[in-house]
Symmetry: D2
Subunit: 343 residues, 4 copies
């Protein structure tokens, strides 16, 4: 395809692989031209797996050596601002993974850079592109369940996050790294911003995993009050072991809606009546949101080709960060925290 | 309760226990006064378990020694006619387990005896009293899915039936002993009688169980054409091992209806993402149809008290036997058999 | 039955009818001898519907005029203490509906009276007798999902509660009247007492219903920290309109368990592909917990007959009241409240 | 992509559109270069929708005017042989929709032509590429449910097939046009060929649709005996109205497996407790088998690129045709028909 959007993938880890696969296998309108990662071994492995023609240790090099239209940033959160500003400065469109950044100032800087350079900035909130979430949001917007009163969203992930992602010194912890999608989708589906939040956390598995980070937690439960008076709940459990679990339940003035389910495939087996029925669960996030990842990247490519603004914007990313910051403060200070305290 | 219906339970085996439990634990309007079984050990055990005041080796003795209003006959099929005629002759109301009898002449004799003596004759088709089947039948009758075109019913049971029940010399085999409910409920839900049937059977497990009965089969699949032009399917697998499975699916001119499910309890557990979700299955028929058994016996008691005719009649029992006979002939002769050939 | 437990039902309203039906239709070991209600019309109606031999305007009269062994108290919460003390004083065993009382002093008085008089005191926490909850609790206790880390329980009810039940002047509001079962079952399933709670509430429907009670809310979301470090969530929506919804989800160190479901019957129908599949929902609490109500009353009767202590004790009732009081204070003061502040 | 497989799509109707969409949107390794259809209006519409560069009224023209590697044949069944032989003669690889042909001689001719010309011949049995069917087949092959004893497969489609497809003069009727996938997948999953079949059909809707074709039926039920002694059932209902329904259930010596479900999306809504829960159903075959269609065409492209033989072969297509022919004869002659009678 002559006018395929040329992409430089930044980050050769799990998310970089996932997005490379989606782009290369399923999106004819995109072309992955370069892969960037400072970890040489991982860079080589992923470049080989997806037959990347060019691979670089840094975005600098990539910008210097090869032509492309856009970056897909899957590097750790603490690198998001620098990479985004560099990409925007070079006129590259930006697909930025969640969480957007470590604090609101960084979010603002990224948004400003994209605006000033006139590049597209899309956040990696794939739930907004998952066929079920899209259909559900559309039906809510059409009034099917009335005004949402209560929205509950959860993300429980199977494996322990990397060290930087669970330490409040280098990240905003699980509430950011695991629950970003819940922050975004509760706000999206409620149609209102957060007013105040209250968070409880628990540490059941830290000692088993020899985790010494201060304030480590593996279980979190957040209570949200929205500006429109609606209520919300976010739960995070990581590592949960049992699978990848991402579900939402909403009660509106007229009724209830459930989005998503534990079941990963419509195959039911029973071979032992004392054990019972067995059905596959979603094992991982790439399985659960396979279509969501493809659709969000297709959307990014389409926005670049058509010049239209993306769904899942920098402002959405900023609100998710704000929720995380308020909840983290709530957890540390054991009190409800108003968003206006930190905005 | 002064005017409780006094019942003599005939048969101390699994069905006799099940019906005793339903009557004694859940039906205040009934009183179990006597238990009859020629097997002394089983008689003693069941009498003890349910605190029967009187126990007898034969219905003769029971009739001679104790006053009661009705019998519940759970003895083997080949004894149904003799027991029914004896009970009717003594003016006792009759609750008769399926299959009704070995052949149509026996059915006719039982029906005639009950009519002549003016006693109630109710067949043990508990699906007709299961809350889900009752609701479904009512909705079909109200036209919700339009004229039924295709009805599929299955009964797959976990354990090997007793010797007499799987041998065509002493019973009509699994199509009768296991699938009687399917014969009854397909006819009930289709609202039409059988016109012709075609049956295929298979024997996968006989050698493993050292079964030497001629014509033994553990898997059966029957194709039915109804008088109204509708089609039907019955499947039987016994022993199936995996649980007790009794489900129906109906396609009507306007839509589809499914009745029943494999799931036995709304408890879902996952502790291993490679294994997946685990949900209880119905393990046994007493579990699956617990309410159906209570409701059918309540109905029997109510009919006696009110003098009203029962649902699930002798004629229904006769049609189920007719279907079995035609299907057995079909299986033996490897051709479709018309009901008119045997009626 | 000679030694049937004779019961005086107090309260002729919805719960009194429900429990009368369970006792009379399904529990041969009980005998409903008298019905008490100050509302003459309701008394007459319910007495007629269930063929009560005796009916009285007050417990005084009943105690004076007829012999019985036990009371089942379904009167409004603010009458629980007086009725319980009167019954205990007369040596009658007590089955007491939730919420136990308005405050902890009342709870203590009831517990003390029952102890002093040596009568059984059972609280109406039917979830502890529902077959699914019983099986689930047993499996959790056996370690199947490991140590519970997070338990979520919800009760969403279809209709607006009566005036006294939604006004904080005469009750403890929806958190008590609707969510009592959640307070009890989260504590039961977590195996730990509440340490602190934080509650958010919302009022979406009050103006539509012209409700002028101070602090009225129709939506509530409670965040719980248990003494063992576990977390919990309770949500209440009433009136929710869409059905009766009571479900629990628990994440333990080894896995997840879901108890209950929206689906009320295993009947699936589709007649319009644009509309989709239709499945019955539980419409009301008597439908959802039909077996739980029968089982809890059987248990009460059995405890009386055998002299054994009941599951679902006065202490359980007291803890549920304590949780409600802490959550109500949290909601009013907009801060987390420790149970030790009110115990 | 330099070595993209160049495809000439034959047929601009529903299937041609579906396969064009899959190839163009989701398969970077393929390039749709030409579209062929004798219907000028449909040709223009589909060519425009998918931006085909070349469009022709016949395969002759396409072969004459443009270079390509393979054809995807979605034309009516009665054209399959001629188109396949022409394509094979020109050295083009062939993806051929089901049913393969009208009779076994045509199947043999197609297979022979492909073999002689050394081109790949893949049949459009997308169930063999659907992730759920693939996983299920793999688990059966691994012995999870033991030797299959009974396999039931159904295809119920929403709309009335075109005239040629429901008339036995121009096609083999619904058993071929709608149920081809059931013929293929029962044989695949049972791991055995058909030995004999018995078919019943019914015509409930023909008069409503003014269909005058001889032997028209809208409901079919086939009973299969496999060479290995296993039993099978195929049901077809078309038009069924309620959605697109394609499910399989298999009982093996060790247990049961269900593949597929009615539910089309994991979104559950309830806004009216008298109506109940509403869940989307699969409305159409492109929805249900979206991934299956993509995967089968990817497989075709991969086989061409790698020179490896396809799953879903001409022989598989031939067996499905044989089953249809035997069942049609059974239906016309009202007797079981052995495959050996027609092979």
């Amino acid at each position: 395809m002559n006018n395929a959007v040329r992409i430089c993938m930044i980050g050769a880890g799990r998310v970089g692989k996932n997005h490379s696969r989606a782009l290369i296998s399923s999106i004819p309108a995109a072309k992955c031209v370069a892969l960037v990662d400072p970890d040489a071994a991982m860079l080589a492995e992923t470049a080989s797996e997806f037959s990347y023609e060019y691979q670089f240790a840094s975005l600098d090099e990539a910008l210097d050596k090869v032509a492309f239209d856009a970056v897909v940033i899957t590097a750790p959160t603490f690198l998001h601002k620098a990479l985004s500003l560099q990409a925007a400065g070079a006129g590259k469109h930006i697909f930025l993974e969640k969480p957007m950044a470590l604090n609101l100032q960084e979010c603002d800087d990224i948004i400003a850079a994209a605006q000033q350079q006139g590049v597209i900035l899309q956040l990696g909130f794939m739930r907004r592109f998952d066929p079920e979430f899209v259909a559900a949001a559309s039906r809510i917007a059409a009034g099917e369940i009335g005004q949402p009163m209560l929205v509950k969203s959860l993300t429980h992930g199977p494996g322990m996050p990397p060290g930087w992602a669970r330490d409040l010194k280098t990240s905003n912890g699980m509430l950011a790294e695991v629950n970003s999608h819940d922050w975004d989708c509760t706000r999206w589906l409620m149609g209102s911003n957060f007013e105040r939040v209250y968070a409880e956390v628990a540490n059941f598995k830290g000692s088993k995993y020899n985790i010494e980070a201060d304030h480590f937690y593996d279980t979190a439960l957040v209570n949200i009050r929205f500006e429109n008076g609606g209520l919300g709940s976010i739960s995070g459990v990581c590592p949960c072991g049992y699978g990848y679990d991402a579900r939402v339940e909403i009660v509106g003035e007229k009724g209830i809606m459930q989005i998503g389910e534990l079941k990963g495939q419509a195959i039911v087996v029973c071979t032992d009546r004392d054990q019972g029925l067995i059905t596959p669960i979603y094992r991982t996030w790439p399985e659960r949101f396979e279509m969501g990842y493809i659709r969000e990247l297709e959307h990014f490519v389409n926005c670049i080709q058509s010049g239209s603004p993306p769904r899942a914007t920098g402002l959405d990313g900023r609100w998710a960060v704000a929720g995380v910051l308020a909840a983290t403060q709530s957890m540390l200070e054991q009190r409800p925290v108003y968003l206006k305290e930190i905005l």
